[in-house]
Amino acid sequence: MAFRWTNDLTHSDVTPEAAFLNRRQIIAGTMGLGAIAAGFEAQAEEALEPNSYEDITSYNNYYEFGTGKGDPVENAHLLNTDDWRITVDGLVDNPGVYSVTELLNGLDIEERIYRFRCVEAWAMVVPWNGVELADILNKAGVQENGKYVAFETAVQPENMIGVQRRVLDFPYVEGLRMDEAMHPLTLMATGLYGRPMPNQNGAPIRLVVPWKYGFKSIKSIVRITVTDQEPPTSWSKANAREYGFYSNVNPEVSHPRWSQASHRKIGGGLFAKREPTLMFNGYEDEVASLYQGMDLAKFF
């Protein structure tokens, strides 16, 4: 296990599995316990309400399975994850076609409790399980001129209604700069809440980059390519004015059609207060140095 990162959201930020099914009924009852725990855990907690397994797995953006938030949970059972293969190629010493097991061979799965912020101004907290992308890249052996990592999602037109409707130019592609990809926060997740990754969340393996808008965290990966040039990314191809390569969470840089200064926390109900969005989604201390000297309004 790498353990280069210590969760700042702790397990008390995640509703226990036994409780999350009727969290809303018992939440009043646990307030007292929470208050006791708060005195214990100092202030790293903030007032972050964790998201239930149900919320995380029923409110998704996975345009291959439809554009509605409830579409993926309804349609993603069609995703065929049998005999999944991931092509690792480009500027690496050990290119090849690997199963998930082969890709993760020798690496231990750890839990990361991350904030998740969608570009549409809503947010969750998700307890992911996975390995650091850096460990996978190190196994692949990144060559010296490898400056970027490109990712690609599976395309199964017969199983994916969004692909049939050409919502985007599929396959969905994403990319990271090498220092972003190697950052200890950057995760290749294979599960959440200790369970295998649900299809609608990007089974069997997906990227999680917690300081960037959710669409950077590409799902159901079939290809990882190390390149020397900035790779194209799906949303930037669809609308370069609205979606840049970096797409770091930044409350000061608005999306052209809506403000990014605050967001709705999923699971808060109809009368939930908006929450202020944090710079780099609250991971400023960890990642701000990656972008030193860059104009973040220009490289959005």
Binding site: K69, W258, G267, G269
Partner: protein, 197 residues
């Protein structure tokens, strides 16, 4: 007796007020579902969309009344006012959910209206509907005069186009629903342009 005569005969027994009853019950029911966590993990946006989409459907329905009569003889004219006024109240509900539950502060509501084009367009449609809703009664028709009243109510056409643009503009990627709505709206206005020649 032709089909349209039979249909019109049956429709005569249906009070127009039924539309208000149905829309009111539906609006309250949707609010209840959202407030009681039965509209998914994120009910604010879901409720906003429910209200906005039914408003658009009712607006389109009101625009269908005349072509339907011309083509099939089925006469829904007595329901048209209820359709239009209901559309207005749903737009009002849509606006209130957006402003109070979604955006939440007055200064930010204003900022969004001025800064975001799809909000500006939606807001323009809403404002243009106010005089229409306010004059949707017999007294106003008499006071303004039927000709001027009809002219005023042609504002429905730009309102429908603005509403269609509002929807087209807010989605991400290539989505089919707002395109279908827009096509229907433009089709209904096109039919009028042609028949007026």
């Amino acid at each position: 007796m032709s089909f349209s005569q039979t249909a019109n005969g049956a429709l005569r027994r249906v009070p127009a007020g039924l539309i208000y009853v149905l829309v009111t019950v539906w609006t309250i029911w949707m609010f209840y579902l959202a407030a009681s966590d039965q509209m998914g993990p994120e009910p604010i946006n879901a409720l906003e969309r429910e209200y906005g989409e039914l408003a658009l459907k009712l607006l389109i329905a009101s625009l269908m009344v005349t072509p339907l009569r011309n083509w099939t003889g089925i006469n829904l004219i007595k329901f048209r006012r209820a359709l239009g006024v209901s559309a207005f109240f749903l737009v009002l509900a849509h606006f209130l959910v957006w402003a109070i539950l979604d955006v939440q502060t007055f200064s930010r509501v204003w900022e969004e209206i001025v800064k975001r084009k799809y909000v500006t367009v939606g807001m323009a449609a809403f404002v243009l509907m106010i005089p229409l809703a306010a004059t949707s009664n017999n007294l106003s028709i008499r006071k303004i005069g039927p000709l001027a009243w009809r002219k005023l109510h042609m504002l429905t056409y730009p309102v429908a186009v603005l509403a269609g643009v509002h929807y087209l503009w807010l989605v991400k990627g290539f989505q089919i629903e707002p395109i279908i709505y827009m096509a229907v709206i433009l089709g209904l206005l096109g039919v009028r342009a042609v028949s007026r020649r």
